[in-house]
Symmetry: C2
Subunit: 321 residues, 2 copies
């Protein structure tokens, strides 16, 4: 670039990076800075990281489904915290890419760390990423993956909490909503399994209820509610719970007398319905903590992989259960 500033490329590099091992005279610095400003010079990240052999890019797949305020908040916090540690966070739009293939696509960018929510990345995927220079791979999933750090997001606990609550309040015929929308299985199945486990060995019964996030679907489900003979339902999350509760009420069912309803995520909107919606409050890991984990892993890539359980789940009992 600014050899047109009268100096060599090396000098430019020194000046712009404030290289401490080298002293550059003030006049020269000034000329370099001036020229850079003038030409609108921007360093070429690819060239830099090619030469350096590493980057400070932390990559995570972009969510392909609408995420709630909880998760959005978490991502923002994480980006902010990693930004403070001088990492660049990049969400890769991996629409349609699967497992190994996705891992390969990510590896092409040679990120220093990869954060993967959900399953879908096997041990081979992790190995591939590590071979291509990722000094840290962190999964946010129900179970750990060989070779990667793991933040265990145990959605089973959410189901267990909800089921324990309903059972403790005397409910025995318990329905569990399973959303029909694709891409939610990663959450809905563990939550369902959690309910199942909580009810194991008790006198309660569990009924799976398929429900799409549309009024018609809820109305259809409500129409056959009496024949279902359920006295309570864990509705996957607050949004599905709100939808279903409204349909049940329109069908003439009394909440919670005839049927108790509980959701999850503790959305503000759930408090607006009457009766106020009971819910399972979920606590995600703090973005700061995860950022620190990443940073530690990057600095100490040989260290044993850490596994932390990070999903807090507590029942918030309001009026619908």
């Amino acid at each position: 670039m600014a050899r047109l500033a009268g100096v060599s490329r090396a000098t430019v590099s020194y000046v712009l990076n404030n290289t401490s091992a080298v002293r550059i005279s003030e006049p020269t610095r000034r000329r370099v800075h001036a020229a850079a400003k003038e030409l609108g010079y921007v360093p070429h990240a690819a060239a830099r990281s090619l030469r350096a052999g590493h980057s400070r890019m932390v990559l995570m797949p972009a969510p392909s489904i609408p995420v709630g305020p909880l998760y959005s908040q978490f991502i923002s916090e994480l980006q902010w915290a990693l930004g403070r540690l001088d990492y660049t966070v990049v969400q890769y739009g991996s629409v349609g890419l699967q497992g190994e293939e996705a891992a390969r696509a990510w590896a092409e960018l040679r990120p220093v760390a990869v954060l993967v929510p959900g399953t879908g990345l096997g041990p081979q995927g992790v190995a591939l990423l590590r071979r291509s220079g990722a000094r840290a791979v962190v999964t946010l999933a129900p179970e750990a993956v060989e070779g990667a750090h793991a933040l265990l997001m145990d959605h089973e606990r959410v189901g267990r909490c909800a089921a324990d609550h309903l059972y403790a309040r005397g409910r025995r015929r318990i329905g569990v909503v399973v959303p029909e929308e694709a891409g939610l299985e990663a959450f809905s199945l563990p939550r369902l399994a959690g309910v199942r486990r909580a009810l194991l060995g008790t006198d309660a019964t569990l009924t799976e209820l398929s429900l799409a996030f549309e009024e018609q679907s809820a109305i259809r489900l409500a129409a056959r509610w009496r024949e279902l003979g359920l006295d309570s339902v864990f509705a996957y999350n607050d949004e599905y719970a709100m939808l279903l509760m409204r349909a049940l009420q329109d069908e003439g069912l009394r909440i919670p007398e005839d049927t108790a309803v509980i959701g999850a995520d503790d959305l503000l909107l759930g408090r607006l319905l009457r009766p106020r919606l009971s819910t399972v409050h979920i606590e995600l890991p703090s973005g700061r903590d995860l950022a620190e984990l990443v940073d530690r892993a990057v600095r100490e890539p040989g260290a044993a992989t850490e596994t932390h359980t990070v999903l807090g789940a507590t029942v918030v009992h309001r009026d619908s259960s």
Copy 2:
């Protein structure tokens, strides 16, 4: 890499890219592929784009505020459509970066195209990006920026629609909710301005109402509702509308008799309250169309910048207004 496969780098390149201008013998291809598989070889995107002088990366800033299902859907669709056109979509976590500074950070990655929702990127930012190789810069904002293609998302129309509707139904003392949460000004201010414009020269009055997305804030606002003397309110969006409507009802106000309420975004959840929430349905551009615009712009970087108005707004009249 697989010079350890017994061939030269060049040959590897030919084989893995299926270079048609060159014929490689089957045995050689096989050995290369075998070695690549064995070593878990992944090409180095930085090296490739350094050499090529360009990449196929489309960059957009990651949203820093929780976005609704509407926008999430739009992003997904866009990623999918661009993926089909063989672009790689990357969301850059620009937490805290502003205008020029953000533009510089993005430019370091030398994306072939940049998509920027919202204002904050000035003409200099656009120029900077173009100078560093971006063949297309597209803004999604209320107004066009010199040098960039523009998808005009005219949120004023949302406010106008809502105001026209309320006015047509005989309301004259109209409140407009302005969220207190930071980062929403890009939407809330134009919506407010739209209401103002719609009411200009009529006998209606406009009152700004500051509201945070918390129950307490809504309760406080509702408590002074009677002294405000409003007969209707445009509540920014459906979520704020739901929150406020509930608080008004708890305060003893009848909806819509005493106060008409209208939101925006046409969320499913708005239909669950009673009375069912009136709303302004918003139509975002199709991801496919935007992807095509980007592709066209990339292939024809010299062409004049296009400006399209892409935000459809129509009132959905339900029971709260």
